[in-house]
Structures are given as structure tokens and as C-alpha cells.
Symmetry: C2
Amino acid sequence: MDAQNELKPYVIGLDLGGTNSVFGIVDSRGEIKATTAIKTQIYENVDDYVAASVEALQVIIDQVGGIDKIKAMGIGAPNGNYYNGTIEFAPNLKWGHDGVVPLADLFSKALGIPVALTNDANAAAIGEMTYGVARGMKNFIVITLGTGVGSGIVVNGQLLYGSDGFAGELGHVVVRPSNGRACGCGRKGCLEAYCSATGVARTAREFLATREDASLLRELNPEDITSLDVAIAAGKGDEMAKEIFDFTGELLGEACANFAAFSSPEAFIFFGGLTKAGDLIMKPILKGYNEHVLNIYKGKAKFLVSALDGSSAAVLGASAVGWDL
Amino acid sequence: MDAQNELKPYVIGLDLGGTNSVFGIVDSRGEIKATTAIKTQIYENVDDYVAASVEALQVIIDQVGGIDKIKAMGIGAPNGNYYNGTIEFAPNLKWGHDGVVPLADLFSKALGIPVALTNDANAAAIGEMTYGVARGMKNFIVITLGTGVGSGIVVNGQLLYGSDGFAGELGHVVVRPSNGRACGCGRKGCLEAYCSATGVARTAREFLATREDASLLRELNPEDITSLDVAIAAGKGDEMAKEIFDFTGELLGEACANFAAFSSPEAFIFFGGLTKAGDLIMKPILKGYNEHVLNIYKGKAKFLVSALDGSSAAVLGASAVGWDL
């Protein structure tokens, strides 16, 4: 393998997001040698998307010495299925929401190299294990807190894919079985409806509508409030904003207590925009966890924030999937 | 290994229960060649328990040709920790409830053979994978419905032990976060408080106390009602008894829907006394699951009942842990 890595020292990583598709060419030490990006959603169909990707990629491929230097490609994508290399019914992708898109195959044919694909949260977990805070860990759970809540679960040193490639959808564990919030998945009470960035904004609107106390958030149009607004207000000492993070974190910690009863991980690793709130979110997570976890797990798991930079972590995670090919 | 198996063709399996400890000598095809049993709880301390076990075992060991024919021993025990070979704080064991008992070591020293120990539900899972309905499956969850609710989770063909050996305590996932029933673990709303045999009896008492309709169960002293009484009444067509099973099964199915979001198993396999109720419990499980599971998992998982005979399954499962040594 070392000999082969000398001949083909790079892999391509693609972090396929709802807005941007970020490509990086990565070496075996996790150094990103070149990057490029295209908009994900301006293409009518997946063939146009792949063609535009390959055109953008060609520039950075040439920079590192041509396609012969590239061993493989790894893709992290929403609703990505590792077993099939497909994106399946991804609600937020214009060209992927109502069917099964064989994206790994399409890129493999267009580039002439092996391509592996996994879901974006799994890619983040592989990135953490290969280059981040989970190096050396064999049992951990990555929870991504973005527009939605995703997860990548590693057990016995391996990513948990389950029987169909779709294991680890912890954002859709129901945490409030009665009177739960409607979730984008069509059900009610999912973790994602509370602890995603959009969940935080919903909590803000609920608090504003049902409470009377003053808050900096009252200066904003409720419909426009984002989790960033809440973080900024909390940073200024706004009590309601801090309580919104308390509510979010404690519920997330309570959910993690249930997850511990499943895989008893060494660490929970949080990733994504909401983690920028730091202690505002992490302290309530720990509080909720300690209040709800079964005795035998108490005090065992670490609660960590990803130390990898957001977009490069996703590209690195995707590239790590490629190295495994 | 085959050569070694010819020299040492047997392992000892021990199903260590709160009432009985059942021993079997098992060959590599899963045939039980000899069995014996002792009472688990009549001994003041673990040394006396091990001594009595060895005395009983000696008889059946001699029957198969002596200790030289025995490769190893496997134990399935409540609160068993595979990593350490210990029983830790087992609430229902007189000589094991307030500390860490190095049971594998004690048996290994007494018998002079390697001994492995795992929790009883994990032993059931290994038994199903080695000899039962899970043969050939790589991702499944065994749920034991007895006095408590236990679980053994298999992913990628391996038992999930987690970072500390205590993964897979699905009986203590909180399914009713508000107004949940008190659980023996000291928390509220655990699956075990509803879907164990004792949970079924509690449901019966609740229904009897809060409803007015006639039922065969009203002929019994509420405090003495067992899950078996409920099953017998349901078998006679008693409506309330059937609704008790509906309630139990639907809640269990709802919980399984959340478990699917974790490991997306090929099958859920139910094991233990309550499964004897057959369709009375299995149909509501499936109904609850289908009503609550995320779209991407719908219609994928099988719902199976263990086909292994109760006590021999546990012994076989324990023995399978020994074969791995």
C-alpha cells in the first residue's frame, strides 16, 4: 500500500452540502493540497452537477500532477448510502429529493477512479477518527448540529452502517413522544426538531410568544431569528437567550443519556455551527446527561467539541472514506 | 482449531439466573451433552457459590471424559462485564449486589480452564447468532422480556460492548420522559418499567384501578397478578387483558423504532417469558413499530421470536462465549 500511495499520493474529498459542494485534494497525512467549490443546487439534474464538478476538479487535479496521482474519491453527502454509493431521497437536494441517485458511480465513470460515498455525519465521524479528537478511540458518537441533527456512530473502531447503510440517524430519535414538535421527517418529537440550528430558532420563537420578560431578541422579527442571533444575544448576557441554550443543551444531554444505553461510547463529539456557542451549549448538555444517565455510565463519557475546522473537516472526512478503498 | 477441538471437544455453558444456575456441557455443533443445576441464591458468598458449582459440575465433567476434554467455559450473567469477566452491582444477586465479583477468574482458578463471561442478554444474542434464528445475520438486536428487559446488540457481526463492556442496556432507555413510571434503576420512564413481565403486571393493576369494565382479572388479587395471568385471560378472549398486551407491545414497537435509528438492524429478536404470548404481543409490537419508525427504515426489519428453547438457549449462548476463547 505504501508503494501504491507513492504512485498515487492523493485522494479527492467532496463535502456535498445543500448550498456548496467543496472539493479538496488530500494527501495521506491529511494535508489539503488544493481546493475548489461549486454551488450544489444551480443544476437541473445530476448529470449537469457531475459535469460541472469534473470541470472544476480538473483545474486542481492538474495542479497536483494529473488524475494519475489520484487514488480515489470520497464523498460525504446528505442521505448518502455507503453500501450502494447512492444518495437516497435527500429532501434538501433539488436533483436528489425524489429518488435514488448513483452519485459514486457517476463520478467514478467521469473520473476513471474508484469512488466511495457516505452520509455527511458519517464522514465527519471518519474525519474525527482519522485526523481529529477521536484519534485512537474505538467507540464514540459524532453529533452534527447544523440545519438538521446528524450522527455518525463508531463501534469497535468501525463506522456503524447497519443492515441497509442507514444506521445512525439519531436526529430522528423521538425525544418527546407526547406533544412533540413537528419534524421535517413527517413525525413528531424528533431530536432534530429541538436541537438543530432551526430548532434553536423555533425555541426562541416559542419563548418570545409564551413569556413576558425582556430580551434583546424582542428587537428582531421573530420569523427571521436564527440560532446565530440567539448566540449573539446570549453572549451579551441576555437571560432568555441563555435559557434557550439551556433548554437545547439539556434536551440534547438527555438524549445522549439514552444513546449511552445503546453503545456506551467513550466520547460524544459535537460538530457544526451550534458548537460555536461553546460553554453556552456544552455545559447544559453535560448537565442534562448527568441528570438522566443510568448509574453504570455516570462520569465515563467525554463531551468534546470537534477541533477540526468546519469545511475542511468535512472534506477530510470525505477523503478518509476514499482512502479506505 | 479443528485439531484442538478434537482434543478438547466441549465447552461448559453457565446460564446464571436470579433463581437457578444451569450448567451444560456443549459440543461444537451446539449439542448439549450433559446438564446440571444449582440454586443461585442459597450461598452466603461467591466462594461458596463457586465451590458448589464446581462440585455439581464435576459429575457431568466426568460423564464426558474429564476436564481435559473441556476447552473453556462461558458464563451469561446479569450485569456481566465481558471486558473484565466480572459481575458488577447486580441488584438481584445476594452475593453480587454491592460490588464487583471477578466470577470468570474464580471459575478459571477452580477449574483450570479459560473462562469468559458476558451479560445474559448478550449471551442470548450470541446464542441466536450461533445456533438460532440470527444465523448468518450481521446486524440484529435481541430483546429479552423477562423480570426485566435486557438486550444484546450485534453490529457488523460483532456483539456491541462499547467502551466499558456495558453497551446495550436498552431496557433502560427512557421511553416516557414525562410522568414516566418509576424504574428499579432509580430513574423514571424506562422501557423496562413497562415492557418487562413485571411491567405487564403493573399495567394490569393500573387498568384495573382506573377502568370500570369487566375482566377476568378482577377475580384475582391485584397485587398477585402476574404477566402469565394476563396471558391466560387474554387467551380466553378477555378484552382488558388483550388491551394490556396491546399497550405493552405498541410501546415496545415504538421503542424499537428509535432503536432502528441507531443501528438499523436486519431483525429484532424477542426472547423470554413474555414471547410465549405469541401474536398477542408480537402484533402490537409490529403495529407500534410501523406507526413510529422513520420512513427510510419502514418495512425493512424482521420481527422474530427466538426459536431456541428458553433455558437451553441461555446455556448455548453462554457456551458460545466460551468457544470464542
